[in-house]
Structure formats: structure tokens, C-alpha cells
């Protein structure tokens, strides 16, 4: 949940990047970290294995500056995508204010996307939360690779409710900030 501190005039919100293994969640966060100004970002923390796979989570605090006198911070987290790290994923979702689902557009990862989205619903349900109640944005990543599924087909399967969605090539930064802006704005609109 967002934390609003009326005394220190601060708002902190939590945004989680979710999705199947190797879909590009960490790549999104790293791109953002490399591009935003030093005053905007805090330290990027990555709890990864030796193979560079996320073990627990990545964490990046971003500071928006003062909005109507409130210092506003976004805490970006990624979850580990691999199926067997479900306990970690569940922990990271605690208190989430906004979710980005990073889908892997490659046809061979089609089932992995569906499984991961299903897993997201399941894990939210454990906190008595529903995806419909949380600001949510979908990113169709890896659009530059051969053998990708058409966006219309991905939309039909992963996004029947027509949440905001963006095509991306996260490794080159394409679509990364559009995705972040979309979810960040929805989260702050949710406060008002």
C-alpha cells in the first residue's frame, strides 16, 4: 500500500514488474536506472544468481520531486520470473500499488505468459486483492525478435479487459518509459 506521511509530507508507492522468466523485467529497470538523472534515482539493488537471473527481487527507488508539497517516490520492484520462486513473488506483491506485466512476445513463450498471468491472479488473491482493482499496464516486449506473436493475438489472450498496453524492445529502451509513465500516472490518479 502507498504510504502517505502527512508530517514529513511524503508519499511512497510501490510498483511491481511481473512476468515470466527472462521476459525482460530487470532489463526495464536497468534501462530506467541508466536513463534517469542522478537526482531522481536511488541505488539499484539486484539480488541475482551467478547466472544473472533474479533470485529475490530488483529494487529501484525513483523520486519525483515535490507534488503539491508532497515529496513523491516510486519504488520499483521486479519479481523473479522462474516458476519455482513463487514464495518470493508472493512476498514482493505485498502492498503493491501498481503492476506492470512484461509479456515475452516470442511464440515459444506464449504459454509461459499465460501461466505467469494466472500466477499473478492467484498470488493477489492470497492478499484478498483483485487485478481489476489495481492500476495495471501490459508491456509486449521483445518485438524486435523473429517469431513473435501478433499484438492482436497477445491482446486477446492476455488483455481481454483492454488495460493500457505498449509494444517494447526493452533492451533498446523502446516502450520502457511509456510503460512506466502509464502505470505511475494510474497509481497517482488512484490516490485522488
Amino acid at each position: 500500500m502507498s504510504l502517505i506521511n502527512y508530517s514529513s509530507r511524503e508519499i511512497n508507492v510501490k510498483i511491481v514488474y511481473y512476468g515470466p522468466g527472462l521476459c525482460g523485467k530487470t532489463t526495464n529497470i536497468q534501462y530506467i536506472y541508466n536513463k534517469v538523472t542522478p537526482e531522481t534515482k536511488g541505488k539499484l539493488i539486484t539480488l541475482a544468481t551467478e547466472m544473472d537471473r533474479t533470485l529475490f527481487f530488483d529494487f529501484l527507488p525513483l523520486e519525483l520531486g515535490k507534488v503539491k508539497g508532497f515529496k513523491t517516490r516510486f519504488h520499483l520492484y521486479t519479481v523473479p520470473g522462474q516458476v519455482y520462486y513463487d514464495a518470493s513473488r508472493k512476498l514482493i506483491l505485498r502492498g503493491v500499488d501498481g503492476i506492470v506485466f512484461v509479456a515475452d512476445s516470442q511464440s515459444m513463450r506464449y504459454d509461459a505468459n499465460i501461466e505467469s498471468l494466472y500466477n499473478l491472479h492467484e498470488n493477489l488473491a492470497e492478499y484478498n486483492m483483485k487485478l481489476e482493482d489495481i492500476p495495471f499496464t501490459i508491456q509486449y516486449n521483445k518485438r524486435d525478435l523473429p517469431d513473435t506473436i501478433g499484438v492482436d493475438d497477445l491482446q486477446q489472450e492476455l488483455n481481454p479487459r483492454d488495460y493500457p498496453s505498449y509494444e517494447a524492445v526493452a533492451i533498446e529502451g523502446v516502450g520502457v518509459f511509456n510503460t512506466l509513465k502509464s502505470v505511475a500516472k494510474s497509481v497517482l490518479r488512484n490516490l485522488s
Binding site: 504510504l3 514529513s8 510501490k14 529494487f59 514464495a87
Partner: protein
């Protein structure tokens, strides 16, 4: 789970800080942080650490939560305190009520025994403030209305987001 619309109001914030300052003083600790289970920092007192406090808070919350899961696996409800000992710096973490974590950073100027002893009283005091805060959030009245977060807030926030989050 952490309460919805989690807010800290002026009076409660100062009540919390008074307890933390007192604990800092009588336990000879270096710094003290109060955070919630989602990793959001509520307050900190004492020597300002060299590291990013918000990152530190998120890792502390993850540490506490991971250990709570370990506790369940070994048949405990949770581990209500954790102790990490370093050669110079050490950390003592305690659960306050259900959703809040107290983190005490200390060095050789004090002892674990003293930190543990003094934190017990502070935990009681913090528990009272946190429970009062929960009650307030439950029966939120006009005094705490969300008038700060109106359309003007949204417009200003969106402008900031557009200007800061770009290539």
C-alpha cells in the same frame, strides 16, 4: 496484510519519533528505522547512514518476510526478532504489532543485551501509537480527508512524470 490507505499523521509521527529518539539515547545505538512490511520507511532517527535509506528499508522488509516464511516451515508462527551480527556493525530487528518493523543499527559502543532490553519498552510504546493509528485509519474522519490529492495534484504529478521519466 498491511492496512489499506496507510497514512501517518503529524501527531502520530511525532509520537513515534519521540519513542525512537528515547530508544536511540538509552540503548546507545547508532540509528533506528521504523518501516512497514512492504518496505516503506516510516521514520528514522540517529546518525544518518551513508547508504540509501529507502533501499535499506526495502531489504530489511524482505529479510524479515523471508525469515517469517522460514519460521512457518519450521513450525513457528514467525520470528518476531532477528539479529545480524557483524564484526563492527550489527542489526536488531523486531516486529511491532503485525505490520511494522523496528530496525536498530548499533556498534561496539553498546551491547545486544542492552539493545534488546531497551527495545522491549519502546516496542510497547510503539504498539500503542500504531494501534491508535490503525483505529484512526479505520474510522477516518474529515480531519484526515484526502483533499490534498485532488485534480490539481494529479495534473501536477503527471507533468512531473512526463518530464522526469523520459529518454
Amino acid at each position: 496484510m498491511v492496512k489499506a490507505n496507510w497514512k501517518v499523521f503529524e501527531k502520530d509521527y511525532w509520537a513515534i519519533n519521540t519513542i525512537l529518539e528515547e530508544l536511540l539515547d538509552n540503548s546507545n545505538s547508532k540509528s533506528i528505522l521504523l518501516l512497514d512490511k512492504t518496505g516503506q520507511l516510516i521514520s528514522s532517527v540517529g546518525q544518518k547512514p551513508q547508504f540509501d535509506l529507502y533501499t535499506f528499508a526495502s531489504l530489511c522488509a524482505a529479510d524479515f518476510e523471508a525469515n517469517a516464511q522460514l519460521a512457518k516451515l519450521v513450525g513457528e508462527k514467525d520470528f518476531s526478532t532477528l539479529y545480524h551480527q557483524g564484526s563492527n556493525e550489527s542489526m536488531y530487528l523486531s516486529r511491532v504489532e503485525k505490520d511494522i518493523i523496528l530496525v536498530i543499527l548499533f556498534n561496539k559502543k553498546t551491547t545486544l543485551g542492552l539493545v534488546r532490553l531497551r527495545s522491549r519498552k519502546a516496542l510497547e510504546g510503539l504498539g500503542i501509537v500504531i494501534r491508535r493509528l490503525y483505529d484512526k485509519l479505520e474510522y477516518e474522519n474529515e480531519e484526515y480527508s484526502e483533499s490534498d490529492f485532488d485534480e490539481e495534484f494529479t495534473a501536477e504529478a503527471e507533468f512531473e512524470i512526463d518530464s522526469l521519466f523520459s529518454d
